[in-house]
Amino acid sequence: MIAEIGHFALILALALAVVQGTLPLIGAWRRNDSWMAVSRPTVAGQFVFVSLSLGCLMYAYVASDFSLANVAANSHSDKPLPYKFSGLWGNHEGSMLLWVWILALYGVAIAGLGGNLPPPLRARVLAIQGLVGVGFIVFLLATSNPFLRLDPAPLNGNGLNPLLQDPGLAFHPPLLYFGYVGLSVAFSFAVAALIEGKVDPAWARWVRPWSLLSWSALTAGIVLGSWWAYYELGWGGFWFWDPVENASFMPWLMATALLHSAIVAEKRDALKNWTVLLAILGFSLSLMGTFLVRSGMLTSVHSFAADPERGVFILGFLVVVIGGSLTLYAWRAPSLRSGGRFRPVSREGALVVNNLLLVTGCATVFIGTLYPLILDAISGDKVSVGPPFFESSFVWIMAPLFILTAAGPLLAWKRADLAGVMQRLALAFVAAAAAAILLVALRGGPWGAILGLTIAAWLIGGVAAEFIERLRLFRVPLGDSLRRALVLPRSAWGMSLAHAGVAILIAGTVGATNWQTERVQVMQVGESAEVAGYDFTLVSLGESQGPNYNILRGEFRVQQDGELIDTLHADKRKYWVQGMDTSEAAIRTSWIADIYVAIGDPAPAGGIAVRIYYNPLVPWIWIGALVMVLGGLVSFSDRRHRVGAPSRARRKIQAARPAENEA
């Protein structure tokens, strides 16, 4: 009964979405206020019904109602409660419903917060959101209905994929989806602007915070997935350039570019066409990412073929959304007039280069990810494109970006004085030189690692230089600087934080990829192994039980120069329902390096296979990403992003801000 209510609620939501997607659009065209006004109640209604639907499915999961095919396939009564919840989005159908719910949530947010938007723009934006919603709900109902019944109902379910029974991965999909779907807001604004033929700074002021929010969520989601892979897969790696990872990385790159070009559109009324295009491409890639991963097209063409209905629908939907919006763009974009002019050497110019590099980088990832699919379709040859491809293409496109990131914020709008900027970057030069000399002396190589860390130091130096400049630190009394820090717009804080986070992340990535020490061997109880100056002794091997799995636990004593550092417990779990194994690596971090121990299979002659890693700088990856997310959120909280914030407050901030240093 509950499931039928959920199903029915979804159908009602579809009906409302159809209304939301059509009437206001016509109303905006015919200047009919009452038709435009339809959008807000329908948005609210859609949210209520989708929430009801999601609630019903959640109830079915928590109550272990195995008469639902979706629950039976992805849950089990022995599963701990939190994972009954997360089981909902651990599969295609449930995650699509979550997608639709988040879309409805964003719709409510626009309707609720957009009171000061011009009514036609608001009506159009909400209508586009409605149309995207229509596409997804039809997809759900027609091909991926989570409310289908099983008759007879099985006694118990198949259980959740054990790899997903993990706190890191429980939150990974929702965060990622908040990011993916957040890009739909920028997309809807872009399409609405194309229909209106008007992009003004107020438009950009709306697009920016939404892009910031979804960028932050996307960053957090991707990193959570990466962190999970690091501790759960037992391989000591954090990024594999796997197609599924790339599918989330491409929208992130686009969102990053969008974030930066929206600044130019807002502050300088320039790059408007380009910003609109990025908004369209960003959402297109996030749609593609969702579908490619969830339909299994990337990991397995087979499931694509096995359900031709779903595959055809996906292709059709992608063609309509991407093709339609790009056609609209080609038709309408020439009518969007660009305002502010600028010299090549200027803040705008730097942001253009930023965008070019990010988009080019995204294109290389795109080609590397889809090339095997395309080649297979054309010639039937099967190839794989692995990490070396991305390391020798993408990384080289990003390096100049990171170098320029230090200089960009120091450049003035319109036209900048290059020599002056170089002077102000003195700190960055010093930091880079110090890092390079120190690294050559201490480590000696490989040179790629030294170059990477030098760039990271350069970037940190640049961020610090810009911050000092902004506060006039050391040039005015300290008290004045502090006062400046207090009135500094949050977007400026956010930028400095995010860029500093990037630098830390680069350092972590470079260190981890170049200086990892690995040792794989069979160890008997009592045996010791030495890795990177640490002695690891396998003290004991014991078995125990978790809620729905058996645990094989290796206890390791870690010593350095005879002194006990820590005792680590590396687990291997065997899940009862699926008979599958997972690893739980034992990690001890010093915040500069990780010691990482994972156990493998027991050896026939006794003992157990053990992997021990010494991973320098890996913790910095997580710290850097966290700082980036923090930067995004701080910037998002900037009151200037709230259109119609009291103008008095806005004036005050603007007065306090040095004119040539606007964020």
Binding site: T299, V301, G600
Partner: protein
């Protein structure tokens, strides 16, 4: 600077960026494309020991043998028509098992495939798509059980 010049400059920059990217991509493709073969396709070919390749299929039931050192594993990859013997030294992924789909990356050395890396499926639904296709080609694809 005139609007036209500015546009030209940025178009030029864009082209340069794309050109460099294309060059990087082509160079990277040259070295890093790894071709995939099924055991049946391997029969008809000669491989130089330097060529890195991937093979995939099912781990043949009963073929997994672990050497005394506990790290070296020997097993056969089969598409049920033909078999390739594989050796691998290291810790196998958690989801490696007899009768399951597997992809091995490495080199062909004197009739044995020396794997540098073993990729097993990621979850119970996932059949590496190359494996699924290889099985289909040998007529042994049994369908949709693995799919759901």
């Amino acid at each position: 600077m005139k609007r036209k010049h500015r546009r030209l400059l940025f178009v030029g920059l864009g082209m340069a960026a794309l050109g460099i990217a294309a060059a990087l991509i082509l160079l990277a493709f040259d070295d890093n494309l790894v071709f995939f073969f099924s055991p049946t396709e391997m029969q008809a070919r000669e491989f130089s020991p330097d060529q890195r390749l991937r093979i995939g299929g099912l781990v043949e039931e009963g073929s997994v043998v672990r050497d005394g050192d506990g790290l070296t594993v020997r097993f056969n990859i089969t598409d049920t028509a033909n078999v390739v013997a594989v050796t691998y030294s290291g810790v196998l992924p958690d989801l490696f098992d007899e009768g399951q789909g597997v992809v091995a990356e490495g080199h062909m050395l004197g009739g044995t495939f020396e794997a540098a890396e073993i990729l097993a499926k990621h979850d119970e639904n996932y059949m590496p798509r190359e494996v699924a296709d290889a099985l289909k080609e040998s007529g042994q694809w049994q369908g949709d059980e693995a799919d759901k």
